[in-house]
């Protein structure tokens, strides 16, 4: 047995992530964080104490065996690490990039109590990317059953649910309204944070599982949820359509040309490739001075996309202070490095136009923090007489979303008072056989939360359909191996065939 590691013997500093230079990357759409090399990953794997409590595992919404895969990296067994990851998470390359690890696994890491936490996300990404490069894919042995499952929405919730149901042997079809699958991963998250090739690789893996993708299909309008169950022969349906419907500020001048939602900016740029206009047909004239309102992850994406599209100046306007900003600290930091100018404690009160309906500026008011509100954050209060104007020709609202109304309009599903789909703790809706999860149930959240919801709904669906769930994998004292000739990683009715 190796010598026991202690907090003193491990490398003290977190292995830095190689990054593109801020000045260079602010002009291109290449990935900002270039990813660990094998040496980086090996060094970082040394930092895991293999502590018996494993707080990281409970900190992960999908319960990845984190020490397990880190141990495999440490043994230079990357294929083994990939096998462990894919046991619970089919999209390691995506999650390694976009999960807010500092609030999840890394936030509770034992090493993190005295040093910087182990860089779990970076190692996860390294393993996922290696698998894509090597063309590894764990195609489970799937025992087909007679069940047909329909999934509405091909974003993270839908993909996670589809993967689990396919592994359970169901015939799975995923419907997407856009012309390409991927949902928010495609239209929302820009390439410099999550390259499209990574998403496509993960989608191709799902296809290898037998999952069918049907694009250009607007469920609700082309056929309804009820029709899927009653006429189209689906035994169960999962709805993961996302929240969508962007919030506007409702201040004077809102409808001026040059005011748009972050969703519109990002969709035009990412999915429709307006950044390659006129090679692609979708236009996106970017302003010289862009003001983004809000400070969540979407707002950070909007500021950084604007820079890359050639804006000379990009402002981020937020009514609370930096501490309250909902974006990941890393994203704010990246935006700052690239030259985004932050205006904390500043709230827009009016959009100013040039008399022809185009944006020419924005009137703002300074704020100060008062008593804590319901969310526990200190409530911003306007400072009397502190209004000021500044020049801008493009204003992007990134202040959250409301429930998309299409499902409510076209089905008998019960909605809650905010218009989101009502679901119980098992994510079952008011219609038998129909489950829902992700943003359309909870309101806007993160990619990994949506994936967690997709997997939870899959568990409920399997119970509803009466499919036996083996639950835990058989891990013997020797770790992964075979038991009665069966691969011990057998899980969820599927044997993982190691190629």
């Amino acid at each position: 047995m190796a010598k026991k590691k202690t907090i003193r013997t491990i490398p003290q500093e977190r292995t830095p992530m190689p990054e593109q230079d801020p000045q260079v990357r602010a002009k291109n759409f290449e990935e900002v964080a270039c990813g660990y090399s094998l040496e980086d990953a090996l060094r970082e794997s040394e930092r895991c104490l293999m502590c018996p409590d494993q707080p990281c595992v409970s900190g992960c919404p999908v319960g990845i065996n984190i020490p397990g895969f880190i141990q495999k990296i440490n043994e230079k067994n990357l294929r083994g690490a990939y096998d462990i990851l894919t046991d619970t998470n089919l999209l390691p390359s995506i999650c390694g990039r976009v999960c807010p690890q500092e609030n999840q696994c890394e936030g509770v890491c034992t090493v993190g109590e005295s040093l910087e936490a182990v860089a779990i996300g970076r190692m996860e990404r390294f393993v996922g990317d290696t698998a894509i490069k090597q063309g590894w894919v764990n195609i489970p042995y799937i025992e087909p059953n007679r069940f047909r499952v329909g999934i509405v929405g091909s974003g993270p919730a839908g993909m996670a649910c589809a993967a689990d149901m396919a592994k359970a042997g169901c015939d799975v079809t995923v419907y997407e309204a856009f012309h390409q699958p991927g949902g928010v991963l495609k239209y929302g998250i820009p390439d410099f944070r999550l390259p499209n090739e990574v998403i496509d690789a993960e989608i191709n893996n799902l296809k290898k599982f037998g999952v069918k993708f049907e694009c250009n299909t607007l469920v609700g309008r082309l056929f309804t949820i009820e029709q899927m169950i009653d006429e189209m022969g689906f035994h169960a349906v999962f709805i993961g359509v996302g929240a969508g419907y962007p919030t506007m500020l409702n201040i004077p001048g809102d409808s001026s040309n040059g005011v748009l939602s972050a969703n519109e900016l990002l969709t035009r740029c990412n999915l429709m490739r307006a950044r390659d206009f006129p090679n692609f047909d979708t236009p996106l004239p970017i302003g010289k001075r862009v003001a983004v309102v809000g400070a969540g992850n979407t707002a950070m994406d909007a500021t950084r996309v604007s820079l890359r599209l050639g804006a000379e100046k990009v402002y981020c306007v937020y009514r609370r202070s930096r501490t309250e900003a909902p974006a990941r600290a890393e994203e704010v930091h990246h935006a700052e490095q690239e030259g985004v100018e932050f205006h904390w404690l500043t709230a827009p009160v009016a959009v100013l136009d040039d008399g022809k309906g185009n944006v020419r500026g924005m009137r703002c008011v300074r704020m100060e923090l008062g008593e804590p509100d319901d969310s526990g954050r200190r409530r911003p209060v306007p400072v009397a007489g502190s209004e000021f104007d500044f020049e801008t020709d493009l204003i992007v609202y990134a202040i959250g979303t409301n429930a998309n109304p299409i499902m409510g309009q076209t089905s008998k599903l019960k909605l809650n008072k905010w218009g989101y789909i009502g679901a119980d703790e098992n994510l079952a809706t008011s219609v038998a056989g129909v489950f829902a999860g992700g943003d359309i149930v909870t309101g806007a959240a993160t990619v990994i939360q949506a994936m967690g919801a997709g997997r939870k709904a899959a568990r409920s669906m399997k119970a509803y359909l009466g499919i036996r769930d083996a639950g835990l994998p058989y891990i013997g004292a020797e770790g992964a191996g075979t038991l009665f000739g069966i691969d011990t990683r057998e899980r969820n009715f599927a044997r993982v065939r190691v190629a």
């Binding site: 250009n216 607007l218 969508g244 748009l260 519109e264 969709t267 236009p283 309906g357 998309n404």
Partner: protein, 320 residues
């Protein structure tokens, strides 16, 4: 059942009404089954294309087709005019989108269509006819040569008033003049449905405001996804902001802020114009290259295979 396996968005019929207006009938049996009057689709011509919203002009549940009547006004619609032939396919068509028109219990209805709005008002006129209403059609065209679907409308309208700007057929005047004639002839009109350019719909709404006749209009603003996600299609209706794609596209014409709508529609005019100019220029060049190549082939200078590698008109467009 595979939904899209039943449709590869094949064009089965094409009809040219004029230099700028053309009809495409696209195979999509599932959508033909689901479509209702007042709904629209979003079409993508090719992988690099933009998503453009088009109102459904007709649907045939038996044939399993969706009919679109398109006016070549921008780069994409002109490119479609040039490239969409019978047997070719669209890259994508999604729908039917939007809340269907509520075919109310109105007993007497005026259906007004101007220019491009003539086609999309047809399913509504037919819907009202089927619901047992007395339907008065008012159609506006610039001149006699641009008139289309007169027979289709005659079949579903109890009265049809044709208006042309120059009076070459029907009465001389705008659709608003037609509405006046209809209002003068009937004092029991319950509802007016008006579809056309915003300026026309605005005028129609004004024409009925005094008489307080319910007037529904169908707006078609700029949109990307058509599923309520981008907010590009927001319209001011009364004191509320609505998204045309999921809250509409039909709204009460007396409440819609048309001036605001028209300003918003102008947002991409400049880039649109640039894109179109660039496209027509590259078409011209491709034609020249094509002609030169054919010429060379005729003289036996080039192998046929080389001909297949004509430059992609978009590949070397400036700024791309």
């Amino acid at each position: 059942m595979k939904t899209n396996a039943m449709s590869n968005f094949e064009i089965v019929t094409r009809e040219d009404f004029s230099d700028v207006t053309y009809l495409l009938e696209v195979r999509h049996p599932l959508m033909a089954k689901a479509a209702k009057p007042g709904q629209f689709v979003i079409v993508m011509l090719n992988e690099h294309g933009e998503r453009i919203p088009l109102t459904i002009a007709d649907f045939d549940r038996n044939k399993g087709t969706i009919t679109l009547v398109i006016q070549a006004v921008g780069k994409t619609t002109r490119q479609m005019q040039a490239e969409c032939k019978v047997g070719t396919k669209l890259y994508g068509m999604v729908g039917p989108m939007g809340i269907p028109t509520e075919i109310s219990h109105a007993k007497k209805v005026v259906c007004v269509g101007g220019g491009l709005g003539v086609a999309p008002v047809f399913p509504q006129a037919r819907g009202y006819k089927e619901a047992g209403a007395y339907v008065i059609g008012v159609l506006g065209f610039r001149n006699k040569d641009l008139v289309f679907w007169e027979d289709k409308f005659r079949a579903v309208c109890d009265e049809l008033i044709l208006c042309t700007n120059d009076g070459s057929v029907g009465m001389k005047g705008f659709v608003t003049d037609g509405i006046k004639v209809a209002l003068a002839g009937h004092n029991d009109i319950d509802e007016v449905v008006a579809i056309g350019p915003p300026v026309m719909m605005k005028a129609c709404a004004e024409a009925t405001r005094a008489a307080k006749i319910k007037t529904m209009v169908s707006v078609n603003p700029i949109m990307v996804d058509g599923t309520g996600m981008c907010g590009g299609c927001r319209v001011k209706v009364g004191d509320k902001v609505k998204f045309a794609c999921v809250d509409g596209p039909d709204f009460d014409g007396h409440l819609v802020d048309f001036d605001d709508l028209m300003v918003r529609l102008s947002r991409y005019t400049k880039v649109e114009k640039e894109a179109h100019e660039r496209w027509s220029e590259s078409c011209r060049m491709t034609k020249q290259v094509g002609a030169a190549a054919l010429d060379a082939l005729a003289r036996g200078h080039v192998q046929q295979a080389e001909l297949l590698e004509l430059p992609d008109p978009f590949e070397d467009a400036p700024g791309g």
